[in-house]
Point group: C2
Chain length 146, copies 2
């Protein structure tokens, strides 16, 4: 037997995201489409935690998250969002992109507080080879500017 968290009807039939989360995810899409990273801090809680796809590290604070967004969206090309999945306090946004010659597929898991501020932003991507290539290039660029 595998131990699991108790699965409830709230898991099977999740609530729709609250109004502040809906407004915030629309603003997130505007920011990404316009590469308008200066507006990202308005969407983040002070305690924002960013979790990258390559390592187990977590990254804390608004400035760190903005610096990471600027860098990774500079490395990824042909970025597009696709399916959206939701729960009462968050979204999963599926995306595709290109890193060099490699196609990548990923998800953003975005969790909001009650004010519509992002408290947790986790990224997962496949395939592993492209994740490592992205992390290596992003690390090089962030190291060069820090």
């Amino acid at each position: 037997m595998i131990e699991t968290d108790s699965i409830t009807m709230a898991d099977i039939e999740p609530a729709r995201p609250h109004a502040a989360a809906q407004a915030a995810i629309q603003e997130w899409h505007r920011i990404v489409a316009a590469l308008d990273w200066d507006r990202v801090p308005d969407l983040l809680a002070d305690c924002i935690v960013y979790r990258n796809p390559a390592t187990i590290d977590s990254h804390h604070g608004k400035a760190t998250m903005v610096a990471i967004m600027r860098t990774v969206f500079g490395v990824m090309q042909d970025f597009k969002y696709h399916r959206h999945f939701a729960r009462g306090t968050g979204y999963v946004l599926e995306f595709s992109a290109r890193v060099g010659d490699a196609g990548v597929f990923g998800v953003d898991l975005v969790e909001f507080d009650e004010h519509g501020k992002i408290i947790d932003f986790m990224v997962m991507m496949r395939p592993a080879s492209a994740v490592l290539a992205l992390a290596a290039e992003a690390g090089k660029r962030m190291g060069a500017t820090s």
Copy 2:
């Protein structure tokens, strides 16, 4: 400017999963909790596509998916599901597990047809080192039995 699919209100406020998908995801949880892989084929469409976290390959057919499930759930320990996200025709199930000494975090993106049969099952995991360790061990075990 980044090109994105048009974001609609159906993305921002997704429909609840249809009844057949709800029933199927509850059965999926029962199967995983009981490691009852013999019942997985009942949940799958003949055209099921499985997409693994390590490579860009896709794997086709019920027998392949069942063989992969048996193997990867033999490699992963302490597997637990956490947050659920949903849309009209699918779910994202967040999980944690252990591969050797390494903690891993992942998502299953599960898409259903109108009959509640799974047509697409994509897995993404982090960190990349654990994804590669899991893929190597699973490949060894599947090679040994094929």
